[in-house]
């Protein structure tokens, strides 16, 4: 069963929100309803599920309802209708005490502009969640310090928030959210206020942390690249509706409608498409037992000026070029050992095109894609990199 299950969720702002439902059923748009009733549709029939340990990203432009959606999940905003089940328990129906308990133990939130308490030190900020639960001071300091260490802020625990840079302030925000060890982490545009370099660093670190913690994360962003990078699955929102849910590849290769298509057309594919997706089968490989003549014949067959060499277990040994092979034949050498170039450019299947670019620029040979045991899985030539970026099949 999914950890979080959202069913038919609506949020309507303004007076008498219920009177809007018949209009929604008639299929009136957000703008029409606003003009007619003065009510704003925040969320229009959202349903989705999030698995335990999943990194779920909700992406949309401003006004798409994504911030409203995330605030419904811990009821900072009261939903108008629908169900939000966490561990099977409906948050929408929880009474005041119950809701407070859920907020204290199960769900923590990280905010776009950090939402730190300016009058408290870093440590006191991180301790806040535990403090209001009445955890005894020694214990909460211990837990808070662990959390501070986790986000790399050790040594800053006695600083005031305004003495820290934006990136560091958001680390405090993250540490504060992690301190009470919640099941669910809500992150509302958590990195949007940071400059691009710091943002990238924080994204990498969050992924790193997530690979250790396996929290269930719901992450809001307006930045498609960020969504594609972080999300196990992505929900795309528009006008309060969820228009598509899927993995990064799903959304890129199979957009649900024109809106999503338009949205993804400017995507920096070099950051999404992986080596695996653009590599060719390494047909040109020969075994180490073969000699230079076999190598040249293989190259001619495949119209390449070089050929990769593997052992019988397909483990990569190196590469042989056509010039070296010809010279070896002239010299009468029978083995490839002397002309084998062992230092070849290698990539892993999961590496993104962007990482391959510098390699492709300097390498004289195609890039070898290998797994952890150095088995040759495929090769990438410059042309396939370009095709991969443009988004056409190689």
């Amino acid at each position: 069963m999914s950890l979080i299950e959202v069913k038919d969720l609506y949020k309507v702002f303004g007076h008498k929100p219920k009177k809007v439902f018949p209009l929604l059923e008639k299929g009136m748009s957000k703008d029409e309803i606003l003009n007619k009733t003065g009510n704003t549709i925040g969320i229009n029939n959202a349903s989705f599920e999030v698995e335990k340990g999943e990194f779920f990203v909700v992406m949309g432009l401003s006004g798409s309802g994504k911030s409203t959606l995330i605030r419904c999940l811990n009821r900072l905003i009261e939903p108008t209708a629908g169900q939000i089940l966490i561990d099977g328990e409906d948050i929408v129906k929880a009474d005041k005490d119950n809701l407070r308990d859920i907020r204290r133990k199960k769900i923590s939130m990280v905010f776009q502009h950090f939402g730190l308490f300016p009058h408290r030190t870093v440590l006191d900020n991180v301790e806040y969640g535990l403090e209001i639960q009445g955890v005894d001071p020694e214990e909460r300091t211990k837990k808070a310090m662990e959390s501070i260490k986790l986000v790399g802020l050790k040594g800053y625990e006695n600083s005031m928030p305004n003495e820290l840079s934006g990136g560091m302030q958001q680390r405090v925000g993250l540490a504060r959210a992690l301190a009470n060890d919640p099941d669910v982490l809500l992150m509302d545009e958590a990195f949007s206020a940071l400059d691009p370099l710091i943002r990238k660093e924080m994204q990498d670190e969050l992924l790193d942390l997530q690979s250790k913690m396996h929290k269930t994360i719901i992450f809001i962003t307006h930045d498609l690249d960020e969504a594609l990078k972080l999300g196990d699955r992505i929900a795309v929102m528009k006008d309060g509706k969820i228009v598509q849910i899927g993995t990064a590849e799903d959304i890129l290769t199979n957009p649900a409608n024109d809106y999503v298509k338009e949205f993804v057309q400017d995507v920096d594919r070099s950051r999404v498409v992986t080596a695996e997706a653009i590599m060719r089968k390494p047909e040109a490989l020969i075994s180490s037992k073969d000699g230079p003549r076999v190598a040249i014949r293989k190259m001619k067959e495949n119209e390449f000026s070089s050929v990769y060499v593997t052992d019988k277990n397909k483990k990569l040994l190196g590469i042989v070029t056509i010039e070296d092979a010809s010279k070896a034949i002239e010299k009468g050498q029978k083995s490839l050992d002397e002309i084998l170039i062992r230092d070849v450019p290698r990539a892993t299947p999961q590496q993104q095109i962007i990482d391959l670019l510098p390699m492709a620029k300097t390498a004289d040979y195609p890039i070898a894609v290998t797994d952890k045991e150095d088995h040759l899985l495929g090769i990438i030539v410059r042309a396939s990199i370009i095709l991969g970026i443009v988004g056409e099949e190689a």
Binding site: R71, N74, S108, M109, G115, H119, I132, N180
Partner: protein, 276 residues
């Protein structure tokens, strides 16, 4: 031309209050009188020079050496002008009415910040309290409490309450939304929210309101002397009535010195808090 005097209705209302709720006014009177006289006796307990040095020390702690020197010299001048008793009496009146103002005003401000409807109701009342010429309060005040310090304190409390209510309200409303959301999202109770988050962040602005309240209270001193509240106001009033230019000037200067000292010290508390 159509004539309609609302004054007579107000007069009836005040007289009705006086007739029916005299016990309440007596009760208020006892409290006010007790606190003012108590504070005055306390301040008079120490010889003037000791109190001057103590106030100077306080000024030095919360502000700067310059302000401390000014405080000591200013108070010495007041003592030398033989206005010490009058100054203490004024100080006691100002401090105790301010204290009561804050005890009522800050909770009202907090309430107004939490409840929009209450805020809307309160706003015109505050406008009324603040802009009605202060003399007007004196008439019913005397009716309720007869002459002396108590009606003076009563008028002062009404006149000086608006700034602290408004600024407390504003200060709490100005706490950034995300900070409040963060506190809520971690499961704060409303009490924890108020005392651990909103009030500490709002404190500098609230302190500015407290400062304004004390200044306004001091400005009522001369006016309330007209109904016998004594102190420095009485000195100024005598200067006017007996046409003694020198005496009036001395009384006025003493008020200014007291005002500046109170202002710098209360502001100093605000800055201390900001720098922390």
């Amino acid at each position: 031309m159509f004539k309609f005097h609302i004054g007579s209705y107000f007069e009836d209302f005040v007289l009705w209050l006086k007739d029916n709720f005299d016990f309440i006014f007596d009760f208020i009177k006892n409290i006010l009188e007790g606190s003012i006289d108590g504070l005055e006796a306390l301040l008079n307990f120490l010889p003037s020079i000791v109190l001057i040095l103590l106030i100077g020390l306080l000024a030095w702690k919360v502000t700067s050496k310059g302000v401390a020197i000014f405080t000591i010299l200013g108070l010495l001048l007041i003592d030398a002008m033989e206005l010490w008793q009058a100054t203490i009496s004024t100080l006691a009146l100002v401090l105790s009415s301010s204290l009561i103002t804050l005890l009522i005003g800050i909770p009202l401000g907090i309430l107004a910040s939490k409840n929009d409807r209450f805020d809307r109701i309160l706003r015109p009342i505050l406008d009324f309290m603040q802009t009605m010429p202060a003399f007007v309060y004196l008439i019913p005040a005397v009716l309720f409490f007869s002459l002396g310090k108590v009606p003076g304190a009563f008028a002062t409390i009404i006149f000086s309450m608006p700034p602290v209510v408004r600024l407390t309200n504003l200060a709490i409303r100005q706490v950034p939304t995300e900070v409040v959301e963060a506190a809520r999202s971690f499961g704060s109770t409303s009490k924890q929210m108020l005392f651990k988050v909103q009030l500490p962040i709002a404190l500098p602005t609230i302190l500015a309101g407290i400062n304004q309240t004390i200044m306004l209270a001091l400005s009522m001193v001369v006016i309330s002397a007209m109904i016998g509240s004594g102190g420095l106001g009485k000195v100024v009033l005598r200067g006017i009535q007996e046409y003694k230019i020198g005496l009036g000037f001395e009384g006025g200067v003493a008020v200014v010195i007291l005002a500046m000292i109170l202002d710098r010290i209360t502001q100093g508390f605000g800055d201390l808090n900001k720098n922390k």
